[in-house]
Amino acid sequence: MLALGPLLNRIPLYLLQLAIGVLLLLFGMRWLRKAILRAAGIIPHHDETLAYMTETAVLREQERNHKEPFDWIAALASFKAVVLEGLEAVFIVIAVGAGRGLVVPASIGAIAACTLVAGAGFAVHQPLTRVPENTLKFAVGIILSSFGMFWTGEGLGITWPGADIVIIPFALLFLIVSLLAVNFARRPDMGVLQ
């Protein structure tokens, strides 16, 4: 991010906002769709423990087949996880900072936010584990889709009424439509947002 900052500042802001907005829309709505389908009972709920055990078993199997002094598989697996999870933060930093010469402050803000969230996660991870996973994903999907909507519109040259505040009504609309979709698609004997 810091290395590419000066280059990003040369790209017109609207192009960056459009690109990041569309990617956030794709990312957020994909996530929201899955959360809706899970809440409706169309696809099974994500079992994090099972996913962890499966991934661990695959890595152990690969480790047995590769006897090298440096564990490339572990390094690549860690790299993959960090890059995939960090991409969202990079998008936000680019959209906020590029074009205005604010990439460095935005990057510092992202690092501070990351530290804060990690600290908060450590402090409240027990209460958070009691929140159903799909509810969290539902909420994150709505937030990402709303931000994506805002930035895509800004990138296209739409001046939203109320500027940034319009993200809140966007989120409410995404929530209402998602809940309606859950009700329309729900299989019998399923609770909402389980």
Binding site: F27, K80, L84, S145, L156, I158, V177, A185
Partner: protein, 66 residues
Amino acid sequence: MNTLIDFFHQLAGLFVDDASLALEILAIVVLAALLIFLMPSQPLAAGAILLFGCLGVLFVNVVRAA
């Protein structure tokens, strides 16, 4: 090599899971952009197309998947 391929596969999967949803979202964005190009004095009309188009696409996609 397989791990790298898997990585790029997962990277693409971040944005595209259901291809029809991704294509429909992109089509709505293109439609909104066309509307702004054709009617630059009415940007909010394009905004409405973008917002309600994406909401509609999401709803229809979910109902179709059910």
